[in-house]
Amino acid sequence: MKRELPRMITLVTGVFLALQYYVPHRSSAHMYETLMDWLIVVGIFAILLGIAGLVRQHLTKIQSRRENWPYSVALLTGLFGMVILGFWGQGLGSPFVTAYFTLLNPVQATMFAMLAFYIASAAYRAFRARTLLATILLLSAVLVMLGRVPLGELVWPPFSLGSLEIPGIAQISDWLINVPNLAAKRAIYVGLGLGGSATALKVVLGIEAPHLRG
């Protein structure tokens, strides 16, 4: 029963949600919204559970002076510090908002900005022309990148060789993006759509229920 009941609930809910997509009637939309509201309620309890687990884990780490325990102190100070600051109002200029904009926001922006460096290092590795395929990738990337900036258009504009019209780098870049690249993307989308449907079917039918094994 411990396993069969969740499987049954999954089956009924899964079939309902799959069919609900085809029923535009208000009552169907209302039931869907009710289910989504339940999800929010469950989500709130899960957040409490998550925070409780996080606090317990880091308190244990501090108490037993495990390796890197000062990081846990920083985490708990940040967590409870923001909650306490929230009691002094949440308007512009309040301690909570000030702490958000002067501490959390710059740190987040820094993390995001680091992405530029990571892209550079990953691109260096990906574009090394070691094989034929890697060389094609490198050439395509150079053409696409040059075609996206005004300098590329300046260096390689469209021109004619007798009666032959040679496209400019911007047109070549657009062709690479809209034809071979889009074709590959669509193929992946088709695979993902079918794979996603098959996975959903496995879960709904209870064929795949990793949380109910054992």
Binding site: P24, I51, L115, A122, L194, G195, G214
Partner: protein
């Protein structure tokens, strides 16, 4: 008497076209713009395939709905169309909306289902003159129980599900099903073995998706298989979670897998933990974990956004073997560049079947292949139809 009546009718009939011609002549003789022409035809109908409480009013443009001819700035044209509504033809009309010149459609969403309504379109001229159309109605709105625009999609869903169920049945009956080798999945055992040899944990990142995302469902199945193997190899697995609901399910998945593998005592709840629901704070925490604990193997399976490359590059610097899979197409190239193995497209969903080789799972995998074959055939047929101009075939698959 009857004779004289019919003579009179004949006279009237003869005089009618002459009267019409005279009226037309008089109208054209009037100064331009003295009258605005009403819309010639109005119809109102229940909006199809909707939840209800919407009526669509459609009309043909007034003959005066045009750009004024050059040099005739005083010509009267349409300023707007007013949509008037009443619950019976004898009721007072209420304006429920208006439309600009050139528009021929108005959706009235302030109606009650199963109540009769009558509509009229009033054309407003640039000289403020008004011309009312004929009545349209009665019309009642109602909600529909089936969206006919999605009929083809439903048919394909049923066909696909049917094919998958048949193949599951065949696989259970013992039919051999071939699966092509997937390097990213073949490397899972090797990656877990490496972690065991090095005495370091495995890091499994389920991404930023919620528990309702299919990619997260795929992450659960992969986590289940990975946790099963790590339990057998006596290696630790760390699962930092972005979503608390994903965390609770991931805890169950790992616990169940340890139990299934026969090592329930190895399970530690703190290994599957919630971090934060802030994207870059999550990245900072996971990166810190990679640098401090130096996991031997990193799995990135689920939904990933801008953080994908930051995570994968940090793992690369830390010297971990990395296996990634996501349904976010934009992130796949980043994983390809920074990870040792990347599951592309539907390979993400093949993990459980590939690793377990259980017949029902193999059947679903084969069903996906049949689905892909059907899509390929339809694409070829669609290309041929489009080339030959067979609109019927293309329109059959069109969705609104």
């Amino acid at each position: 008497m009857a004779r004289s009546d019919s003579r009179h009718e004949r006279r009237v009939r003869r005089a009618y076209p002459a009267a019409l011609t005279l009226t037309a002549c008089l109208l054209t003789a009037l100064p331009a713009g003295a009258l605005i022409a009403p819309v010639p035809h109005v119809e109102a109908y229940d909006r199809p395939n909707d939840p209800g409480e919407t009526i669509v009013v459609a009309w043909e443009l007034s003959p005066d709905d045009r750009t004024p001819p050059p040099g005739d700035a005083d010509a009267v044209t349409v300023l707007s169309y007013r949509v008037l509504r009443a619950e019976s033809p004898t009721d007072t009309l209420t304006e429920v909306g208006s439309a600009l010149p050139g528009k021929t459609l108005y959706r009235d969403s302030e109606v009650r289902d199963n109540v009769a309504y009558y509509y009229q379109i009033q054309t407003v001229g640039t000289d403020s003159s008004l011309a009312s159309s004929a009545w349209a109605g009665p019309v009642r709105s109602s909600g529909q129980w089936f969206d006919t625009n999605k009929a083809v999609l439903l048919a394909f869903m049923l066909l696909f599900c049917g094919a998958v169920l048949v193949l599951i049945h065949q696989a259970r009956a013992g039919r051999e099903l071939f699966i092509r080798p997937i390097p990213g999945l073949s490397a899972v055992d090797e990656a877990i073995g490496r972690a065991t040899e090095m005495g370091r944990p495995i890091l499994f990142v389920p991404g930023l998706g919620t528990s309702g995302d299919v990619a997260t469902l795929a992450a659960y199945t992969m986590l289940g298989r990975v946790a099963h193997r790590t339990a057998e190899y006596q290696t630790g697995v760390r699962v930092p979670c972005y979503d608390p609901m994903v965390m609770t399910i991931a805890q169950d998945v790992v616990k169940s897998s340890y139990l299934d593998a026969g090592y329930p005592d190895m399970y530690r709840e703190e290994d599957v933990f919630f971090v934060t629901q802030d994207q870059f704070s999550y990245v900072a925490a996971v990166n810190g974990l990679m640098i401090r604990e130096r996991p031997a193997t990193n799995f990135y399976i689920g939904k990933f956004y801008a953080e994908s490359l930051i995570l994968a590059e940090t793992g690369n610097f830390a010297g971990s073997i990395q296996i990634a899979g996501t349904d976010e197409i934009v992130q796949i190239p980043f994983f390809v560049a920074a990870c040792d193995y990347t599951l592309i497209g539907e390979e993400l969903y093949a993990a459980s079947a590939y690793l377990s080789r259980e017949p029902p799972l193999l059947g679903t995998l084969k069903g996906q292949d049949w689905g892909k074959a059907a899509v390929m055939i339809l694409i070829i047929l669609g290309t041929v139809a489009a080339t030959l101009g067979w609109r019927g075939f293309i329109d059959f698959f069109a969705t609104q």
